[in-house]
Amino acid sequence: MKPAPFKYVLASSLDHALALKAEHGDEARFLAGGQSLIPAMNFRLARPSVLIDINALTRLSGIDRPEAGQVRVGALTRYRALERDGEFLRSCPLFADALPHIAHPQVRNRGTIGGNLSHADPASELPALAIAMQARMRIRSAAGERTVAASDFFAGLLTTDLASDEMLVDITYPVLAPRSGACFMEIARRRGDFAIAGVAAVVTLDEERRCASVRLALCGVGETPVDAGAAALPMIGSRLTGDAVEAVAAGVRDLIAPSGNVHASPDYQRHVAGVLVQRAIRTAHQRISHAA
């Protein structure tokens, strides 16, 4: 399990990295944390001919607030930096729930948010969070820059909207709105494994404590993270009740089409997705009550 040969280039600037990518296209891969890419290379499932190491591009790393109500996370920010940033976790509490489910501390010390999202593993937590939080992804290439919504970013199994000359450079998340609660839950065979099913829920109440919005996204149950917001629409405008939450769960079970894997049958995935939807919505809702 040794990687096939490749040419390694340490990018000295973002422009340098993007120029190299424009030159080599799909033959080249960006090396960020390497926690998905290097295993794939060790198995020789990935054989890039050029590796563009972006780890020296420190300006791609870090958390800031471009304007009120928003948090921007640089693509090279490591999970560990997010975990250690209490203010970020309070602003974006789904991360506080989700980060401990991402592999193990040794991996979180290296892995980056941009690498994770660009890899687009549907069983990974952060793509679902991006959907649930309606994140916006800023993408650069040598030719220019564009921004896409998370809902348009994940195109298919391990596939994103990124063109072969593009790099995800940062992600902007709205901070948790007032009267809102958030919860991420997942089921995996062991802590740190990829999810059999995971649910991110964000519930926002109006001043009468009726549901003003319910954002729902799932991981592990399809070829991409699944935006299940539609299943929660019947709750909007009413108070949260057990029946309503069950109905949302039923809606989610109808919506998703998990394919099953060696750990779980599709039926089990569908079943526990529904269980988690109920639990996550209830917990998110409780967290508003507690905060209020």
Binding site: R189, D267, V272
Partner: protein, 781 residues
């Protein structure tokens, strides 16, 4: 002689090296000019090999050689049959042993087809891509029931069927027993086991020294002497020309025993051929298919009972998946067959098995070695019987235990060591009573469980008994030698993979010779240090080698006392051997150090008297007449999330009896590790093959070894019934932790989810949340 150290939790001698990164493991062996080896493995489970073209690979820069089966010439031979089948009348056994490189046919995914030798492993792997293989794919034989139908293709063409073995063993008259029974219960059980997956994979380094005509082989083997003898014969060398060293080995658990794996056979030949040292380190991807497995059995078993729950007889017919070759003989299915009888009086037993060839990796013993399959069947049958007869689960077990006055207890059938299955000693009821007490069995059922159920929590309890045949022969030996510096050196032929031999053997010696265990250096696994031996398997190291060490150190003790008595011109009875010296009782200033005695035992002048031998040393062998039978009870309380069916172990208790204990700390460690592997087997680990024989989860991301969050705290206790079969009274303990866990889990989960009332029975292992969902939903629907 004092027993200051024997029986004490002495801290391990080997730890410092391991804790500081200084221990020598196989991949740490670095030699000048060493080449690196990678194997091209079949991606197809069953195919005829039409053509293999390695010419491009040979051209690649950095590649030194590429070999296919034809290149091996006369060296290409099917491997040895490692264990002959026991002499059971009427048995069929069709040995088909693995080959060094596939020649005409491939029989499992992962079977090696070619070997590349290059300047680095990286380059060797590059060259694997250059090899062109033409295969004619055949239907893959994967399902053991279908394998026996007439429509199945044979894995071995010359055999005509896929029957690897057929064995029938009988005790008493089952038909008569069944005729007298109050009830007869019959079920089908499936038990899958997995792969041992030590954190260190396998590896071989071979170094042919042409000038010295000496072959040195470093090998992650549990049985270096067998490997030396076998390879010397294959290579046309004398045994004295071959040295096999098993260095520190990062976990074995069975599959590292003495397989004559294709890599073990190939590397020494390559080293001779190229006259350079060569190294092969198995990577994790290879490990999943290239290292042997333990896998599935299907049992159709029935039990006949009297109204009071007494077992009248058991009948069992089972299929055993042996994989593509049956190199290890019948050890695994015989263990299943024998261990099913458990600690119970079963007057009539009728057991038949068929071992089946499939196009899957080879099956050989892995910790438990088939015993857990048998334990699962009898324990589940007893659970079903308890329910049918309205008897408590623990009580039905108690009623059937072999009474303490019935030992030695002869079960009449033949065990894997060729001896009749006779339990040497035991006192089973106190073990069960202690376990029930420790888990709080009555309190749980009467008080705690009803409360949990009121709260909507699904919490259940499981209790299972087992015996374990351990410490089988043939023999082990040890050489104990006092050195001039006063330190004692002990060499033995077994290998070591973490069992603490450097300490437990030192404890035995320390008491005999009056030294500290830290002054005893143990050498294991180097055939130049100790010439004879069998190996570390079947929970036998402490029993068989331990007794040999004891005998040898006792002989050295006698020698030391005799030498000192001569020196002091006193009677041996007046001497005290302690603190590394022999002194005259009552005269502390009058002493002679052991190191000085060792020098005197090898004099430069004068004469060694007739009838004596030089050196303060002794080599002794020990061979038990048959295996010692340990026993135990595991009990667990588990909670299941009723919606997600995730499991949490709330309490886990092990009470066991493995005779006299050398080092309780090391023993507990063995039990802990065994239970962890048992939990993996019961609830996490499953080798998932598709119908083409492809392993779908060949990575540690998908083959789920339990983590620190999955293995609960374990509470241990023990009783001591010494074995009469060896002077130290030891029984083995290496496998006890792993054996009954599946049975405990199935029972406890059934109880937690009240599956009985839902008419769901858990008759298979491994379980998982998803599988529990399928099983319960089928019934609910």
């Amino acid at each position: 002689m004092s027993t200051r150290f024997f029986g004490a939790p002495v801290k391990r001698n080997e730890d410092r090296k391991l804790l500081t990164g200084q221990a020598l493991f196989i991949d740490d062996v670095e030699l000048p000019d060493m080449l690196h080896v990678a194997f091209l493995r079949s991606q197809v489970a069953h195919a005829r090999l039409k053509q293999i073209d390695v010419s491009r690979a040979r051209q690649r820069p950095g590649v030194v050689a590429v070999y296919v089966a034809e290149d091996y010439g006369d060296y290409w031979q099917p491997g040895p049959l490692l264990v002959q089948p026991p002499p059971i009348p009427g048995s069929t056994f069709n040995p088909r042993t693995q080959v060094p490189l596939a020649r005409d046919k491939v029989r499992y995914v992962g079977e090696p087809l070619a070997v590349v030798v290059a300047e680095s492993r990286y380059l060797a792997e590059d060259a694997l891509d250059d090899i062109d293989v033409e295969l004619e794919t055949l239907p893959a034989v994967v399902d053991i029931e279908q394998a026996l139908t007439s429509s199945s293709v044979p894995v071995h063409d010359d055999l005509g069927s896929n029957v690897a073995a057929h064995v029938h063993q009988v005790k008493g008259d089952y038909r008569k027993a069944a005729a007298n029974a109050q009830i007869i219960l019959k079920r089908r059980f499936r038990y899958e086991h997995g792969i041992s997956s030590p954190i260190e994979t396998r590896g071989v380094v071979a170094h042919w020294n042409a000038r010295g005509q000496q072959m040195t082989i470093w090998d992650t083997t549990q049985a270096p002497v067998f490997i030396r003898n076998g390879l010397a014969a294959m290579l046309g060398l004398g045994e004295r020309q071959v040295r096999v060293i098993a260095p520190f080995v990062g976990g074995g658990f069975g599959p590292k025993i003495m397989m004559f794996y294709p890599e073990e056979v190939g590397l020494p030949w390559i080293s001779m051929r190229l006259n350079r040292p060569v190294k092969w380190i198995e990577d994790r991807l290879e490990h999943f298919v290239a290292t042997t497995h333990e896998r599935g059995q299907i049992h159709d078993a029935e039990i006949a009972l009297a109204a009071d729950g007494r077992i009248l007889g058991v009948k069992d017919v089972f299929l055993h998946d042996t994989g593509a070759y049956n190199t290890y003989g019948l050890t695994v299915p015989i263990n299943s067959q024998c261990t099913l009888l458990g600690p119970y009086v079963i007057p009539a037993y009728d057991s038949t098995f068929t071992a089946v060839f499939t196009n899957l990796p080879i099956v050989t013993p892995y910790r438990g070695a088939g015993r857990q399959h048998g334990v699962f069947v009898i324990e589940r049958l007893l659970d079903l019987a308890a329910r049918e007869l309205g008897i408590d689960r623990a009580e039905i077990r108690r009623r059937n235990l072999i009474p303490p006055d019935a030992f030695p207890y002869n079960n009449q059938i033949i065990f894997q060591d060729f001896a009749p299955l006779s339990y040497d000693s035991g006192n089973y009821e106190p073990v069960l009573a202690k376990a029930l007490d420790a888990i709080g069995y009555q309190r749980f059922l009467k008080e705690e469980q009803p409360k949990f159920r009121e709260e909507g929590r699904c919490v259940g309890i499981g209790v299972a008994c087992y015996v374990e045949g351990t410490g089988i022969g043939p023999y082990e030996g040890a050489k104990v030698q006092v050195q001039a510096n006063g330190k004692v050196n002990v060499a033995t032929g077994i290998g070591t993979q973490g069992q603490g031999h450097f300490t437990s053997f030192a404890q035995i010696v320390a008491d005999q010779l009056g030294v500290d265990p830290s002054d005893v250096d143990i050498v294991t696994g180097d055939t130049d240090q100790f010439y004879w031996g069998a190996g570390t398997f079947a929970s036998r190291g402490a029993v068989v080698a331990g007794n040999a060490v004891s005998e040898a150190s006792a002989a050295v003790r006698r020698k030391a006392l005799k030498l000192a008595a001569d020196a002091f011109e006193c009677a041996e009875e007046d001497l005290v051997l302690a603190d590394g010296k022999v002194s005259i009782a009552g005269i502390p200033g009058k002493f002679i150090r052991l190191g000085e005695l060792a020098q005197r035992a090898n004099p430069m002048r004068g004469a060694v008297r007739p009838g004596t031998e030089p050196g303060l040393e002794s080599t002794q062998y020990f061979g038990p007449p048959s295996g010692a039978t340990a026993n135990g009870v595991h009990a667990a309380i588990v909670e299941i999330d009723p919606l997600t069916l995730e499991l949490k172990v709330l309490k886990y208790v092990v009470v066991h009896d493995c005779g006299t204990v050398i080092n309780p700390m090391i023993l507990e460690g063995q039990i802990h590790g065994g239970v962890a592997q048992g939990i993996g087997n019961a609830f996490f680990e499953k080798l998932a093959f598709d119908d083409q024989g492809q392993l779908l989860n060949a990575s540690l991301a998908d083959y789920l070894l339990p983590t620190a969050l999955d293995v609960p705290r374990m509470e241990l206790d023990h009783t001591v019934t010494p074995s009469p079969l060896n002077p130290l009274g030891i029984k083995g303990a290496g496998e006890a932790g792993a054996i009954p866990v599946g049975a405990v889990f199935a029972q406890a989960i059934e109880d937690a989810l009240q599956l009985t009332s839902r008419k769901v029975e858990l008759l298979e292992i491994p379980l998982s949340p998803s599988r529990l969902f399928e099983l319960t939903r089928q019934e609910d629907a």
